[in-house]
Symmetry: C2
Subunit: 445 residues, 2 copies
């Protein structure tokens, strides 16, 4: 057994391709406790530096997947398309795109996570809604999806337990930011859910997990290839996370912005990303439509109130109070609002989303450590975005916070995050690339 | 603390140069138990793949050295030159060269190890001599050196304890065969002994630790550079371990061959390597002499009996019975001798030293595992060497063994190890290169 592992470490150390049986030996041996931490740590570093090819990755993903339970969606009628984002600051697209797709006849099942560090978490945002339950049994998950067309739930311990154990070791051994390991970790969890297709939103830029655009493209291509090798139609986009997405950052505030979007008042950047992902989800569901026609369908779903209706039923089905859709005062609110004023006149050249995410932690909207509690009402509402012309003294951000002692520090962070220049600036392009099994294409719309 | 280690792993993972303080943090933290195995395992794999430059290596070596005790040789008069071999099959040069140098006024202190796998160990060979004590206190070590001109002793637990702990982890994580880690492991132990200079014999070929000649050269250069950076004059040779060194393989048998060499009856290959290392040791001691003149001095030390006299006193000083020099029957002997006969006529083209070393384990002359006992009397005596013309049925090897049940297997192994060809073959060149602080030079003599 020890010899087996020694040989497998040596082979990956020397840059050789591992057999499926070798990868299975490592993963199952580690999960069972037969292989010690230090041998897996050495193997992970070898994988980090030497990489894995497409075949190894597909095998690794399948083996991780086999380490735990799957959630079957058999019996839920219609096409079921899962959507995954690599996370960012102000990313509330799930709450907008899922109701739109459900309103267009595509069911959207999602397993989501909590926020950590500068990025927010879908489950935390949902929990801002009074009564909302984000942990469902597989039966309740299927029933909600069948009844309302969408469902969002946290992962249970039994989904890909190998990933949980390996992630903890990667976190201690500087092997987290490794493309094959990230891709197999994400895709094994996606594949554990029995959807008909997967659409990926890989963020790039300051507030993204992958800051470099080429790295983001490579990660997206890798995951799309794993999906294809696993027989699951998978599409992806690369979208900008250089500035926060939308105007609101913070749990309650982002729920409000999502409901506003479903009422037809979504900010341009939010709608651009929503429409792009929605169009990909239609494709993955086999409902091919010209982009303009798809956008028309989505706009009609909003205008008719059907999309908001889906969101209401979804909230009610998961135990939440659907009246929040009409009365935002039912959501948790911060006690204090202060304004950040433009320190000079000019044009907004940049809003550093990473810095905004870190400022959100200061006021309790995010978590520094897993154990931290979240202040649901805290956050920021931006009144201007990159490309806007502003004048000195104008309100740029409303800060919602229960921590007045943090106000000077937050004001200073926002001052550094928001760059104002003398010259006009183009609005940033939100969707950069489309990735499908044939390769990477500049986003055409 | 964890952050510190995480950052250090990341930096080496990305191929960056580590600061001295960072290397010290890893080594001292691991020895103290503050840093867990799995983090050090990931770091070792990163070092394995990314390497270390000369500065990092000199620092690593010095830090390892600082983890334990040193053996001071202050008060021992004269120049003290340490000689180290990377090990092989039939390597008994220490027992020949140390008495020669002592007879020429250079003192030779050595810390040695046991055999494992196909390579023999200096301590095991010495312990074939009845009464011989290979574990001495530092005081006894100094006294023996001062009194007899040579001393050979096992390493204590307190010499470079960091190496012991790290080696065990490397052994489990496929990070043993890593040049910087090998070089710093060897050199930290050499530097722990307060000699005036170090001479290295890096073996290359089938029976060597490093089978590839370029790897052997690189290892030797790396160690010579570490010695220079540490202010310790260091020279090295690259010598052939493609075939066993000398005619005898096995503990008692090699002691006999060494004594024969000190009586002027050493095989050519043994004497070539002995003279080359002896000449380097004279250089390191500052006693520069033309090669031919040095060989003349060594031959005179043999002819006069002075060298054998040193070896006798050395044995007596470490508790052994010096009468073995005159009566080989006092050494342990195997109960049975069988002959391996030439299966065909021709010229010996090759004797695979690795295969011979593995056959030696079969008859108990070597160890498969650390815990194995050694049969001191077992081994092989070759009656012909590479380049010799032989005829079918001629005795090629006498097998000394207490394990008659192994005879067929050993005969088969020897048959495969010894290649006989139709055409004349040159005798192999034993000493290939000289390595000093200026670089690598073809061995000129």
């Amino acid at each position: 057994m020890a010899n087996g592992m020694y040989e497998i470490i040596s082979r990956k150390r020397d840059g050789l391709e591992l057999e499926r049986e070798e990868i299975a030996f490592v993963i199952s041996g580690y999960v069972k406790g037969d292989i010690p931490d230090y041998q897996v740590a050495a193997w992970l570093m070898a994988v980090y530096i030497r990489g894995m090819n497409g075949r190894e990755l597909a095998d690794l993903t399948a083996i991780m997947l086999d380490s735990g339970d799957r959630i079957s969606l058999d019996g839920v009628p219609g096409k079921k398309i899962d959507k995954h984002s690599t996370g960012g600051v102000g990313d509330k697209i799930s709450f907008v795109v899922a109701p739109l797709l459900a309103a267009c006849g595509v069911r959207v099942p999602m397993l989501s996570g909590r926020g950590l560090g500068h990025t927010g978490g879908t489950l935390d945002k949902l929990e801002a809604i009074p009564g909302m339950n984000v942990f469902l049994t597989p039966e309740k998950f299927r029933d909600t999806l069948a009844a309302t067309g969408m469902v969002i739930c946290g992962q249970t311990e039994n989904i890909v337990p190998a990933d949980r154990k390996i992630y903890a070791l990667r976190d201690a051994t500087a092997t987290v930011s490794c493309l094959p390991l990230i891709a197999s970790s994400i895709m094994s969890k996606k594949l554990a859910l029995g959807s008909d297709g997967i659409v990926l939103d890989v963020k790039t830029g300051s507030g993204a997990f992958m800051k470099d655009e080429q790295d983001s493209i490579l990660l997206c291509q890798t995951m799309v290839a794993i999906g294809a090798k696993s027989g699951r139609p998978t599409l992806g986009i690369i979208s900008s996370m250089d500035q926060p997405l939308g105007r609101a950052v913070g749990n309650s505030l982002e729920i409000i912005e999502s409901i506003e979007a479903l009422k037809g008042r979504g900010p341009d950047d939010v709608m651009q990303v929503t429409y792009a992902l929605g169009w990909c989800m239609l494709q993955a569901a086999g409902k091919t439509a010209a982009y303009a026609r798809a956008v028309g369908m989505f706009q009609e779903a909003i205008a008719s109130g059907r999309a908001l209706g889906v969101f209401r039923s979804f909230i009610a089905a998961q135990g939440g109070d659907p009246r929040v859709c009409d009365d935002y005062s039912l959501l948790p609110a911060a006690r204090q609002q202060t304004e950040f004023l433009a320190p000079s006149s000019g044009h907004i050249a940049r809003i550093d989303s990473y810095a905004v995410g870190m400022a959100a932690i200061d006021i309790g909207a995010g978590r520094r450590k897993k154990e931290d509690a979240v202040a649901y009402g805290s956050g920021f509402v931006f009144h201007a975005n990159v490309g806007d012309k502003i004048r000195k003294g104008q309100k740029l951000v409303t800060v919602h916070s229960d921590r007045p002692e943090q106000t000077p520090a937050v004001q200073e962070r926002l001052g550094k995050a928001i760059q104002i220049g003398p010259r006009p600036v183009d609005r940033p392009k939100m969707v950069l690339h489309l990735v499908d099994k044939d390769g990477v294409h500049p986003w055409p719309y």
